[in-house]
């Protein structure tokens, strides 16, 4: 597998209604959605959650295929969660073999747990697929702004985060390049025991670290050349402003969250 095929947390540029939402609204909405997911208790509330997510995906024009591809790394976790819930939920056994018992409650709980995790991952994918990392850190910075009052260095944290995010694709590309270059000299990264594999990483890691430090150095100089001196008095080129649509979806999110909570209370 080529490293550049990794899609986890990747941004797909577009101009759908979801892409155009204020990133803060999307962040708040995603958080509310996740809370609602854990409040949801039974068929009706889950049904609402699935429909909402389906509508959001349809609006975003992100293909289901790309979402499913991103799921690959979590399949293992899903299977384990499913199995654990299936066998270890107490209740009336409808099937047993030795110490393994399956109850009706276990079936339901495994089913819902897997659905819950699937939807949780899907909704965070939807957030990162439709929001560029820059927008996302911008949103986080703005939302956490009140914490500055208690001297949390929000701007610095947000800047570090956006730089880190910016560097991920660069480092992946660099890793790919160095691996190819060392492969061209006969390096073998795939075979051999653990010891050999670890040893084979030296020709990859040394140049990678050196280049990461070099890039960091260059970036620092470039930032200083442009008079960067931290967040104090800094203005933005793109100021985030809530529009009617953003307020509407956040209100909807809150409503769903409360609604699902109430439904859960009645066991629906």
């Amino acid at each position: 597998m080529a490293l550049r095929d990794i899609t986890l947390g990747q941004y797909f540029p577009g101009n759908s209604p979801i892409h155009r939402l204020d990133p803060r609204a999307k962040l708040v909405l995603t958080t509310l959605y996740i809370v609602a997911l854990f409040l949801a208790d039974f068929l009706v509330s889950y049904g609402i959650m699935v429909v909402l997510l389906a509508v959001a995906i349809a609006l975003s024009r992100i293909s289901l295929k790309s979402i499913l591809r991103g799921m690959k790394p979590v399949v293992f976790i899903l299977v384990i969660t499913g199995i654990l819930n299936l066998f270890y939920t107490p209740g009336d056994p409808i099937w047993s073999w030795g110490f393994l018992k399956i109850s009706v409650e276990g079936l339901w709980s495994a089913f819902f747990m897997v659905i819950r995790i699937l939807m949780l991952i899907t909704c965070t994918f939807l957030l990162t697929y439709t929001t560029s990392p820059i927008q996302l850190t911008d949103a986080i910075e703005r939302l956490l702004n009140p914490l500055k009052a208690i001297r949390v260095p929000i701007h610095e944290l947000a800047m570090m985060m956006s730089i880190a995010l910016r560097f991920i694709p660069l480092l992946i590309e660099e890793t790919d390049k160095i691996m190819s270059a060392q492969r061209a000299r006969g390096a073998d990264f795939d075979t051999g025991g653990l010891r050999q594999k670890a040893k084979a990483l030296v020709p990859l890691l040394v140049p990678l670290f050196i280049s990461a430090f070099r890039r960091a150095d260059e970036l620092a100089v470039a930032m200083e050349c442009r008079c960067y001196h931290g967040g104090e008095g800094r203005t933005r080129m793109k100021v985030l402003r809530y529009r009617a649509a953003d307020r509407a979806v956040m209100a909807l999110g809150l409503l769903v969250c409360v609604g699902v909570g109430v439904l859960g209370h009645f066991g629906l």
Binding site: R4, A181, A184, R185, D188, P203, P207, I210
Partner: protein
């Protein structure tokens, strides 16, 4: 001449199934012959780097085949690994892959991976260092204390030490000063002569390839629209111009002279050829 590397309908598509999907190579038929000095030119993003990474099995074709001496290089795992030793590839800015504590050990990395005996590795390291003009005392230094040009030579020596029959270099002179450029091109030429190896030089500088290569291949948007001797290729000046590549300055001057009414052969591309053409015209014969 006998073909050493061939591609048959080679296509490569990056990121299949994502919005970033793009075809980098489309049905390319490419041939490099035994012992020739071949130039590949094309603009950034034309697919030239993708093409050369197929020639030593670093990239697997999406469709089509790559043949080395008539046999598919993906026939078996063992063969693929052997091909990497026989087709040496020097990447762009190769100095960024240096990792060992000493220059000697870095150059020895390739030959050691080939599983050669210690004496043979030693011979190859010293010979390769000599090819690229590194002094024996440099071998014991750390590669990280050398200058940029020196590092580049260490990296090239690291590939030459595997004594590949085909040596591919991707923009080996990028970012060097004029003296450095001359030296590197000289080193490559020396290796070509000494080992009768096939050299494939990738570049976007017409001047550079015009001076050195026997044959030119132009890559554009994943295809090969032009190939032939430099003289043939540069006679398509207008097409090259349209591809954003241009022709060497000398060729341009002579095309202009011709257009202005001078009765002169416009197919020259080096200063020496220009001198001879002018002298011939003035009736004094070549020097």
């Amino acid at each position: 001449m006998e073909a050493i590397i061939q591609t048959e309908k080679l296509s490569h598509i990056y990121s299949t199934g994502t919005p970033f999907e793009r075809g980098a190579l489309l049905d390319v038929d490419f041939t490099a012959y035994e012992g020739e000095y071949l130039g590949i030119i094309g603009r950034t993003g034309s697919g030239k780097s993708t093409l050369i990474q197929h020639l030593n099995a670093l990239l697997r074709p999406t469709s089509g085949r790559v043949l080395f001496r008539g046999e598919d290089i993906w026939a078996s795992k063992e063969r693929t690994r052997q091909i990497r030793f026989q087709v040496g590839l020097v990447f762009q800015y190769p100095e960024y892959q240096l990792f060992e504590e000493t220059v000697y050990r870095d150059i020895a990395f390739g030959p050691q991976n080939m599983g050669l005996p210690q004496e043979e590795v030693d011979r190859r390291v010293r010979e390769a260092a000599d090819f690229v003009g590194l002094k024996p005392e440099t071998l014991e230094k750390s590669p990280f204390e050398l200058s940029g040009g020196q590092k580049r030579r260490v990296a090239i020596a690291g590939v030459i030490a595997m004594e590949p029959q085909v040596l591919i270099l991707d923009e080996p002179t990028a970012g060097l000063d004029p003296v450095g450029v001359e030296q590197i091109l000289d080193n490559i030429h020396t290796y070509h002569q000494a080992k009768n190896a096939t050299i494939i030089l990738v570049s976007h500088s017409m001047e550079e390839v015009a001076r050195t290569v026997d044959r030119l291949v132009v890559v554009r948007e994943g295809r090969i629209p032009l190939s032939g001797s430099p003289r043939e290729v540069f006679s398509h000046g207008d097409e090259l111009e349209a591809m954003g590549l241009g022709v060497p300055q000398m060729t341009r001057v002579f095309h202009r002279l011709k257009a202005m009414g001078a009765d002169i052969d416009p197919s020259v591309y080096t200063v020496e050829q220009a001198r001879d053409a002018i002298l011939a015209k003035l009736g004094k014969g070549a020097v």
